[in-house]
Subunit: 167 residues, 2 copies
Amino acid sequence: MAATPEITNPDTGQSDQPSLGEIGLSSFVPYLLNRIASSWNMEIQDTLRKQNLNTVRMRALAVLTVKNGLSIKELIHLTVIEQSTLSRALDALEKLEMIERIASKDDRRVRTIYITDKGRDAFSNVWPDMFFEYNDMFAGIDDTERARLVQTLHKILNNLGVKDPGS
Amino acid sequence: MAATPEITNPDTGQSDQPSLGEIGLSSFVPYLLNRIASSWNMEIQDTLRKQNLNTVRMRALAVLTVKNGLSIKELIHLTVIEQSTLSRALDALEKLEMIERIASKDDRRVRTIYITDKGRDAFSNVWPDMFFEYNDMFAGIDDTERARLVQTLHKILNNLGVKDPGS
Protein backbone atom coordinates (compact mmCIF):
# COMPACT_ATOMS: atom_id res chain seq x y z
CA MET A 1 0.00 0.00 0.00
CA ALA A 2 1.43 3.40 -0.97
CA ALA A 3 1.80 5.57 2.13
CA THR A 4 0.20 8.76 0.85
CA PRO A 5 -2.19 9.28 -2.04
CA GLU A 6 -0.67 11.08 -4.98
CA ILE A 7 -1.85 11.82 -8.47
CA THR A 8 1.07 10.03 -10.12
CA ASN A 9 1.00 6.31 -10.79
CA PRO A 10 2.85 4.58 -7.91
CA ASP A 11 4.24 2.00 -10.36
CA THR A 12 5.62 4.26 -13.05
CA GLY A 13 5.79 7.62 -11.30
CA GLN A 14 3.84 8.97 -14.27
CA SER A 15 0.43 10.58 -14.19
CA ASP A 16 -0.85 8.33 -16.99
CA GLN A 17 -3.38 6.66 -14.74
CA PRO A 18 -6.87 6.21 -16.21
CA SER A 19 -9.84 7.51 -14.21
CA LEU A 20 -12.57 5.21 -12.94
CA GLY A 21 -14.82 6.71 -15.62
CA GLU A 22 -12.29 5.76 -18.28
CA ILE A 23 -12.01 2.19 -17.01
CA GLY A 24 -15.79 2.10 -16.66
CA LEU A 25 -17.71 0.85 -13.64
CA SER A 26 -18.76 -2.27 -15.50
CA SER A 27 -15.12 -3.27 -16.13
CA PHE A 28 -13.77 -2.36 -12.70
CA VAL A 29 -13.47 -5.74 -11.01
CA PRO A 30 -13.46 -4.58 -7.34
CA TYR A 31 -16.76 -2.80 -8.03
CA LEU A 32 -18.24 -5.93 -9.63
CA LEU A 33 -17.01 -8.13 -6.77
CA ASN A 34 -18.46 -5.81 -4.13
CA ARG A 35 -21.79 -5.77 -5.96
CA ILE A 36 -21.91 -9.56 -6.24
CA ALA A 37 -20.90 -10.08 -2.60
CA SER A 38 -23.49 -7.49 -1.41
CA SER A 39 -26.17 -8.94 -3.59
CA TRP A 40 -25.43 -12.52 -2.46
CA ASN A 41 -25.45 -11.38 1.17
CA MET A 42 -28.81 -9.63 0.69
CA GLU A 43 -30.35 -12.68 -0.99
CA ILE A 44 -29.64 -14.92 1.99
CA GLN A 45 -30.34 -12.32 4.70
CA ASP A 46 -33.91 -13.43 5.48
CA THR A 47 -32.84 -17.05 5.73
CA LEU A 48 -30.01 -16.11 8.09
CA ARG A 49 -32.23 -13.96 10.29
CA LYS A 50 -34.56 -16.89 10.98
CA GLN A 51 -31.61 -18.69 12.60
CA ASN A 52 -30.44 -15.60 14.55
CA LEU A 53 -27.55 -15.26 12.11
CA ASN A 54 -26.19 -12.47 9.95
CA THR A 55 -23.50 -12.56 7.26
CA VAL A 56 -20.56 -12.30 9.66
CA ARG A 57 -21.91 -14.95 12.05
CA MET A 58 -22.74 -17.26 9.14
CA ARG A 59 -19.26 -16.86 7.64
CA ALA A 60 -17.65 -17.76 10.97
CA LEU A 61 -19.90 -20.83 11.34
CA ALA A 62 -19.34 -21.86 7.72
CA VAL A 63 -15.58 -21.95 8.21
CA LEU A 64 -15.95 -23.86 11.50
CA THR A 65 -18.18 -26.53 9.89
CA VAL A 66 -15.29 -27.26 7.54
CA LYS A 67 -12.33 -26.70 9.89
CA ASN A 68 -13.29 -27.00 13.55
CA GLY A 69 -11.05 -25.93 16.44
CA LEU A 70 -9.45 -22.67 15.33
CA SER A 71 -7.69 -19.81 17.08
CA ILE A 72 -9.14 -16.31 16.62
CA LYS A 73 -6.11 -15.51 14.46
CA GLU A 74 -6.84 -18.45 12.14
CA LEU A 75 -10.51 -17.54 11.97
CA ILE A 76 -9.69 -13.91 11.07
CA HIS A 77 -7.40 -15.17 8.35
CA LEU A 78 -9.95 -17.61 6.90
CA THR A 79 -12.93 -15.25 7.03
CA VAL A 80 -11.06 -11.96 6.35
CA ILE A 81 -13.26 -10.25 8.93
CA GLU A 82 -11.84 -7.48 11.12
CA GLN A 83 -10.95 -8.58 14.66
CA SER A 84 -13.46 -6.29 16.44
CA THR A 85 -16.32 -7.30 14.12
CA LEU A 86 -15.47 -10.98 14.41
CA SER A 87 -15.15 -10.78 18.22
CA ARG A 88 -18.65 -9.29 18.50
CA ALA A 89 -20.01 -12.05 16.28
CA LEU A 90 -18.28 -14.73 18.36
CA ASP A 91 -19.71 -13.26 21.59
CA ALA A 92 -23.18 -13.45 20.06
CA LEU A 93 -22.64 -16.99 18.77
CA GLU A 94 -21.42 -18.07 22.21
CA LYS A 95 -24.55 -16.63 23.85
CA LEU A 96 -26.61 -18.54 21.28
CA GLU A 97 -24.59 -21.64 22.26
CA MET A 98 -23.57 -22.11 18.63
CA ILE A 99 -19.86 -22.03 19.42
CA GLU A 100 -17.72 -22.57 22.47
CA ARG A 101 -14.29 -21.19 23.31
CA ILE A 102 -12.08 -23.55 25.27
CA ALA A 103 -8.99 -22.24 27.05
CA SER A 104 -5.70 -24.03 26.48
CA LYS A 105 -4.35 -26.00 29.46
CA ASP A 106 -0.89 -24.49 28.93
CA ASP A 107 -1.97 -20.88 28.50
CA ARG A 108 -5.42 -19.84 29.74
CA ARG A 109 -5.30 -16.74 27.52
CA VAL A 110 -5.21 -18.88 24.38
CA ARG A 111 -8.67 -20.12 23.48
CA THR A 112 -9.72 -22.46 20.71
CA ILE A 113 -13.06 -21.91 19.00
CA TYR A 114 -15.33 -24.90 18.34
CA ILE A 115 -18.71 -25.08 16.64
CA THR A 116 -21.35 -26.87 18.78
CA ASP A 117 -24.15 -29.18 17.64
CA LYS A 118 -26.50 -26.20 17.93
CA GLY A 119 -24.21 -24.22 15.62
CA ARG A 120 -24.07 -27.08 13.12
CA ASP A 121 -27.86 -27.31 13.19
CA ALA A 122 -28.23 -23.57 12.51
CA PHE A 123 -25.82 -23.77 9.58
CA SER A 124 -27.57 -26.91 8.24
CA ASN A 125 -30.82 -24.94 8.29
CA VAL A 126 -29.44 -22.10 6.16
CA TRP A 127 -27.29 -24.20 3.85
CA PRO A 128 -30.11 -25.44 1.52
CA ASP A 129 -31.07 -21.84 0.67
CA MET A 130 -27.42 -20.86 0.30
CA PHE A 131 -26.83 -23.79 -2.01
CA PHE A 132 -29.94 -22.91 -4.00
CA GLU A 133 -28.70 -19.30 -4.45
CA TYR A 134 -25.26 -20.65 -5.34
CA ASN A 135 -26.68 -22.77 -8.15
CA ASP A 136 -28.76 -19.81 -9.25
CA MET A 137 -25.61 -17.66 -9.53
CA PHE A 138 -24.16 -20.13 -12.02
CA ALA A 139 -27.15 -20.57 -14.33
CA GLY A 140 -25.80 -20.75 -17.90
CA ILE A 141 -22.18 -20.98 -16.69
CA ASP A 142 -20.69 -24.39 -17.47
CA ASP A 143 -18.17 -26.35 -15.41
CA THR A 144 -15.19 -25.19 -17.47
CA GLU A 145 -16.11 -21.53 -17.02
CA ARG A 146 -16.75 -22.06 -13.32
CA ALA A 147 -13.38 -23.80 -12.89
CA ARG A 148 -11.66 -20.96 -14.76
CA LEU A 149 -13.35 -18.41 -12.51
CA VAL A 150 -12.24 -20.25 -9.37
CA GLN A 151 -8.69 -20.38 -10.73
CA THR A 152 -8.59 -16.63 -11.45
CA LEU A 153 -10.14 -15.81 -8.05
CA HIS A 154 -7.39 -17.86 -6.37
CA LYS A 155 -4.74 -15.89 -8.24
CA ILE A 156 -6.35 -12.64 -7.04
CA LEU A 157 -6.52 -13.89 -3.44
CA ASN A 158 -2.89 -14.85 -3.70
CA ASN A 159 -2.00 -11.39 -5.06
CA LEU A 160 -3.90 -9.83 -2.16
CA GLY A 161 -1.79 -11.92 0.21
CA VAL A 162 -4.70 -14.13 1.32
CA LYS A 163 -3.67 -17.78 1.54
CA ASP A 164 -5.78 -20.57 0.06
CA PRO A 165 -7.89 -22.08 2.88
CA GLY A 166 -7.15 -25.51 1.44
CA SER A 167 -3.39 -25.08 1.81
CA MET B 1 -35.53 -17.50 -2.67
CA ALA B 2 -37.10 -20.62 -1.18
CA ALA B 3 -39.51 -19.64 1.59
CA THR B 4 -38.40 -22.06 4.28
CA PRO B 5 -35.12 -23.91 4.64
CA GLU B 6 -35.39 -27.60 3.98
CA ILE B 7 -32.89 -30.38 3.64
CA THR B 8 -34.07 -31.37 0.17
CA ASN B 9 -32.70 -29.67 -2.93
CA PRO B 10 -35.22 -26.98 -3.96
CA ASP B 11 -34.43 -27.65 -7.62
CA THR B 12 -34.84 -31.38 -7.69
CA GLY B 13 -36.73 -32.09 -4.47
CA GLN B 14 -33.99 -34.61 -3.72
CA SER B 15 -31.69 -34.60 -0.74
CA ASP B 16 -28.62 -35.08 -2.95
CA GLN B 17 -27.18 -31.73 -2.00
CA PRO B 18 -23.45 -31.68 -1.20
CA SER B 19 -22.31 -30.10 2.07
CA LEU B 20 -20.06 -27.05 2.14
CA GLY B 21 -17.27 -29.38 3.30
CA GLU B 22 -17.82 -31.58 0.25
CA ILE B 23 -17.72 -28.60 -2.14
CA GLY B 24 -14.73 -27.27 -0.21
CA LEU B 25 -14.28 -23.71 1.01
CA SER B 26 -11.66 -23.07 -1.66
CA SER B 27 -14.12 -23.96 -4.47
CA PHE B 28 -17.15 -22.19 -3.02
CA VAL B 29 -17.32 -19.01 -5.08
CA PRO B 30 -19.44 -16.85 -2.69
CA TYR B 31 -16.83 -17.54 0.00
CA LEU B 32 -13.98 -16.56 -2.34
CA LEU B 33 -15.81 -13.41 -3.46
CA ASN B 34 -16.53 -12.34 0.12
CA ARG B 35 -12.88 -12.87 1.03
CA ILE B 36 -11.63 -10.87 -1.97
CA ALA B 37 -14.10 -8.04 -1.36
CA SER B 38 -13.24 -7.92 2.38
CA SER B 39 -9.55 -8.04 1.69
CA TRP B 40 -9.76 -5.30 -0.96
CA ASN B 41 -11.82 -3.15 1.41
CA MET B 42 -9.27 -3.63 4.20
CA GLU B 43 -6.36 -2.76 1.90
CA ILE B 44 -7.78 0.64 1.05
CA GLN B 45 -9.23 1.42 4.51
CA ASP B 46 -6.34 3.61 5.71
CA THR B 47 -6.38 5.61 2.50
CA LEU B 48 -10.13 6.13 2.80
CA ARG B 49 -9.94 7.17 6.45
CA LYS B 50 -7.56 10.03 5.60
CA GLN B 51 -10.33 11.53 3.43
CA ASN B 52 -13.08 10.93 6.02
CA LEU B 53 -14.38 8.09 3.88
CA ASN B 54 -15.21 4.45 4.51
CA THR B 55 -16.09 1.71 2.03
CA VAL B 56 -19.78 2.62 1.76
CA ARG B 57 -19.13 6.37 1.35
CA MET B 58 -16.40 5.67 -1.20
CA ARG B 59 -18.66 3.35 -3.20
CA ALA B 60 -21.38 6.01 -3.34
CA LEU B 61 -18.87 8.67 -4.45
CA ALA B 62 -17.29 6.31 -7.00
CA VAL B 63 -20.62 5.74 -8.71
CA LEU B 64 -21.41 9.47 -8.66
CA THR B 65 -18.06 10.37 -10.29
CA VAL B 66 -19.12 8.21 -13.21
CA LYS B 67 -22.88 8.88 -13.26
CA ASN B 68 -23.78 12.15 -11.54
CA GLY B 69 -27.33 13.16 -10.63
CA LEU B 70 -29.00 9.99 -9.35
CA SER B 71 -32.07 9.22 -7.29
CA ILE B 72 -31.59 7.24 -4.08
CA LYS B 73 -33.24 4.30 -5.81
CA GLU B 74 -30.74 4.40 -8.67
CA LEU B 75 -27.84 4.72 -6.25
CA ILE B 76 -29.07 1.73 -4.21
CA HIS B 77 -29.30 -0.27 -7.42
CA LEU B 78 -25.84 0.71 -8.63
CA THR B 79 -24.05 0.25 -5.31
CA VAL B 80 -26.14 -2.67 -3.97
CA ILE B 81 -26.04 -1.09 -0.52
CA GLU B 82 -29.03 -1.39 1.83
CA GLN B 83 -31.20 1.74 1.98
CA SER B 84 -30.60 2.45 5.70
CA THR B 85 -26.82 2.04 5.37
CA LEU B 86 -26.69 4.16 2.24
CA SER B 87 -28.87 6.89 3.79
CA ARG B 88 -26.51 7.18 6.76
CA ALA B 89 -23.54 7.43 4.38
CA LEU B 90 -25.28 10.13 2.32
CA ASP B 91 -26.06 12.14 5.48
CA ALA B 92 -22.36 12.01 6.40
CA LEU B 93 -21.25 12.91 2.87
CA GLU B 94 -23.65 15.87 2.84
CA LYS B 95 -22.23 17.13 6.16
CA LEU B 96 -18.75 16.82 4.64
CA GLU B 97 -20.08 18.83 1.65
CA MET B 98 -19.02 16.01 -0.69
CA ILE B 99 -22.52 15.57 -2.11
CA GLU B 100 -25.66 17.68 -2.33
CA ARG B 101 -29.26 16.59 -2.59
CA ILE B 102 -31.44 18.88 -4.68
CA ALA B 103 -35.23 18.68 -4.45
CA SER B 104 -37.21 18.37 -7.66
CA LYS B 105 -39.24 21.45 -8.62
CA ASP B 106 -42.26 19.27 -9.34
CA ASP B 107 -42.13 17.13 -6.20
CA ARG B 108 -40.14 18.40 -3.22
CA ARG B 109 -39.98 14.87 -1.80
CA VAL B 110 -37.95 13.64 -4.78
CA ARG B 111 -34.30 14.58 -4.43
CA THR B 112 -31.46 14.09 -6.86
CA ILE B 113 -27.99 13.35 -5.50
CA TYR B 114 -24.99 15.17 -6.98
CA ILE B 115 -21.30 14.89 -6.17
CA THR B 116 -19.68 18.28 -5.39
CA ASP B 117 -16.16 19.49 -6.26
CA LYS B 118 -15.15 18.62 -2.71
CA GLY B 119 -16.47 15.08 -3.23
CA ARG B 120 -14.60 14.76 -6.52
CA ASP B 121 -11.40 15.95 -4.82
CA ALA B 122 -11.77 13.38 -2.03
CA PHE B 123 -12.29 10.59 -4.56
CA SER B 124 -9.33 11.84 -6.66
CA ASN B 125 -7.20 11.60 -3.53
CA VAL B 126 -8.07 7.96 -2.88
CA TRP B 127 -8.15 6.82 -6.50
CA PRO B 128 -4.35 6.48 -7.02
CA ASP B 129 -4.09 4.01 -4.13
CA MET B 130 -7.22 2.18 -5.31
CA PHE B 131 -5.78 1.94 -8.81
CA PHE B 132 -2.47 0.71 -7.40
CA GLU B 133 -4.25 -2.04 -5.44
CA TYR B 134 -6.32 -2.86 -8.51
CA ASN B 135 -3.18 -3.43 -10.60
CA ASP B 136 -1.72 -5.44 -7.75
CA MET B 137 -4.78 -7.73 -7.75
CA PHE B 138 -4.11 -8.61 -11.38
CA ALA B 139 -0.39 -9.35 -11.22
CA GLY B 140 0.27 -12.35 -13.47
CA ILE B 141 -3.26 -12.25 -14.92
CA ASP B 142 -3.20 -11.27 -18.59
CA ASP B 143 -5.78 -9.22 -20.51
CA THR B 144 -7.55 -12.29 -21.90
CA GLU B 145 -7.98 -13.82 -18.44
CA ARG B 146 -9.13 -10.47 -17.03
CA ALA B 147 -11.67 -10.03 -19.83
CA ARG B 148 -12.93 -13.59 -19.26
CA LEU B 149 -13.31 -12.86 -15.54
CA VAL B 150 -15.29 -9.67 -16.21
CA GLN B 151 -17.54 -11.60 -18.60
CA THR B 152 -18.27 -14.34 -16.04
CA LEU B 153 -18.88 -11.78 -13.27
CA HIS B 154 -21.42 -10.03 -15.51
CA LYS B 155 -23.24 -13.34 -16.05
CA ILE B 156 -23.35 -13.85 -12.27
CA LEU B 157 -24.64 -10.31 -11.66
CA ASN B 158 -27.26 -10.93 -14.28
CA ASN B 159 -28.27 -14.21 -12.60
CA LEU B 160 -28.51 -12.37 -9.29
CA GLY B 161 -30.86 -9.89 -10.97
CA VAL B 162 -28.39 -6.98 -10.80
CA LYS B 163 -28.35 -5.01 -14.02
CA ASP B 164 -25.13 -3.96 -15.75
CA PRO B 165 -24.34 -0.35 -14.71
CA GLY B 166 -23.32 0.33 -18.32
CA SER B 167 -26.74 -0.61 -19.66
